[in-house]
Symmetry: C2
Subunit: 259 residues, 2 copies
DNA sequence: CCTTGTACTCTACCATGGTAGAATGTCAAT
DNA sequence: ATTGACATTCTACCATGGTAGAGTACAAGG
């Protein structure tokens, strides 16, 4: 039960052309000169390619304006061009890739205008979610939320930024889902990609996490008390805070940024 | 200069299997027993297929749960399966098609929950757009807007529903673009698809168009005066009105609706 | 009658080859 | 030195064939 799939053509040229770095985050230490981590041929391939490329772009493993050709990627990843192409199309839909017909596909530049609009869309939606949720949460959910906040506190105490970001995402996703708005979360996730590259660049300022945690608390309390206006205002302030450093970046990273 | 493309394989089996109706809205009278209108082989094909299918679904030419198989569509439309597949993937992203791996692709049922959430997303965004726009329009744009409103008035006078809906779309799109929020309009368009099928079903109630026009005027005036709160409230009321008839439909169309 | 196994048919999914078009470099003509 | 034609070499895009898997019909066995 090893090669159930992969019976047909393509000797698979061993994925060796110009050892590039598209490995996703394999947490456990990988052996020394590991080539590119192969995809799982038992699972749908296109989503795997999409996820890997998305991660490589948002973590700046591949930089803006870098070429992402169907053929090269398919060789590196050991799959055919079709799923690569489908992944690129989806990334282009989300604004992370520019496809120029008959010319090539390239990592999209960080367009500050797009980042700001993504911020606008996210804020508009999440403020509305918070307002709708105010006073309409199950006790079950409120206790979940507080457990999450407690974990955030310990993440802050240990200065574990990655863990905090993970809990932050769970916090916001949880609000959407408790409100029965899963599609909204999908939209938020989609536009958030534009901001993720910027967030990845922003240096971890000391004390920033404390601010974010405090804002999460304010949002939670306003929702619990049923104060829709306050919940919305706190959410708005919180989401503005997240991207506050964009102006700082504008100078430092002019070479990655368009507009 | 007729067959510049289309040199390679596929005799193209004349697109005759089970004359189905996927013609898009060819306004001019087409000859008698015209088969399916062929795609333009000089232009990118996948978007044409997408647009045609989207239109067929939102105008209920193809009904919920109807099969949309890659192969059959490619035969009917005289193209290969690849662009059909890409169009179906995009439609699935937008919730108009359900793709079940190894089973088939089907027109998605009208899920009232999804329709309501689409309404929520649209309202959240457009209220924010109206608020942001209040007091920040160019005189140029305001006169454009009033020209549009005047045309809406004549469309109402002539009871030309299609023309009114066209102007309505231009009105809302214009607000987004004047605010510099083109991506937001794309999101709105995408979620609006869920509502379009319902709107298409709603019978033209007499006097309804007058209400919508009056609301457009209220929104415009509040924006012109720079009254953000009022603009938002009018927009909210307006967008709620658009879908007010959903409850009426729930009974009449139980066979098309899920949940 | 109900279950189980087994061909058979259908699907979406992936691999892969061919095509036109865009960019670039070369070289002759101006 | 500049321009224009042509060849070369890329690209994304489309066509098409093969594959595994999910249903279904039906026969054999309970």
């Amino acid at each position: 039960m090893e090669e159930k799939r992969r019976k047909l053509g393509a000797p698979i040229p061993d994925a060796q052309p110009s050892a590039t770095l598209l490995d996703s985050g394999s947490v456990a230490g990988s052996p020394a000169a590991a080539a590119v981590e192969p995809v799982n041929p038992r699972l749908p391939i296109a989503p795997q390619i999409y996820e890997r490329l998305r991660r490589a772009i948002t973590t700046l493993i591949v930089l803006p304006s870098e070429a992402l050709s169907e053929k090269e990627l398919s060789l590196q990843l050991g799959v055919s061009r079709t799923p690569v192409r489908e992944a690129l199309i989806r990334l282009a839909d989300e604004g992370l890739v520019d496809i120029l017909p008959q010319r090539g596909s390239f990592v999209a530049p960080i367009r500050l205008r797009d980042v700001e609009e993504a911020q606008f869309i996210r804020e508009s939606l999440e403020v509305a979610v918070a307002r709708r949720l105010a006073g309409h949460c199950s006790p079950r959910f409120l206790s979940e939320l507080k457990l999450n906040l407690a974990r955030q506190e310990s993440a802050v105490a240990e200065q574990d930024r990655d863990f905090f970001l993970e809990l932050d995402e769970a916090f916001h996703r949880g609000l959407c889902e408790e409100a029965g708005l899963s599609k909204s979360w999908r939209v938020i996730q989609s536009v958030k990609l534009q901001m993720d590259r910027v967030r990845y660049l922003s240096l971890p300022e000391p004390g920033h996490l404390d601010v974010l945690l405090a804002q999460h608390r304010q949002i939670t309390e306003a929702i619990e008390r049923g104060q829709a206006d306050e919940a919305g205002l706190h959410m708005s302030a919180h989401l503005k805070e997240v991207l506050g450093s964009a102006n700082l970046l504008r100078q430092k990273l002019a070479h990655l940024i368009e507009s």
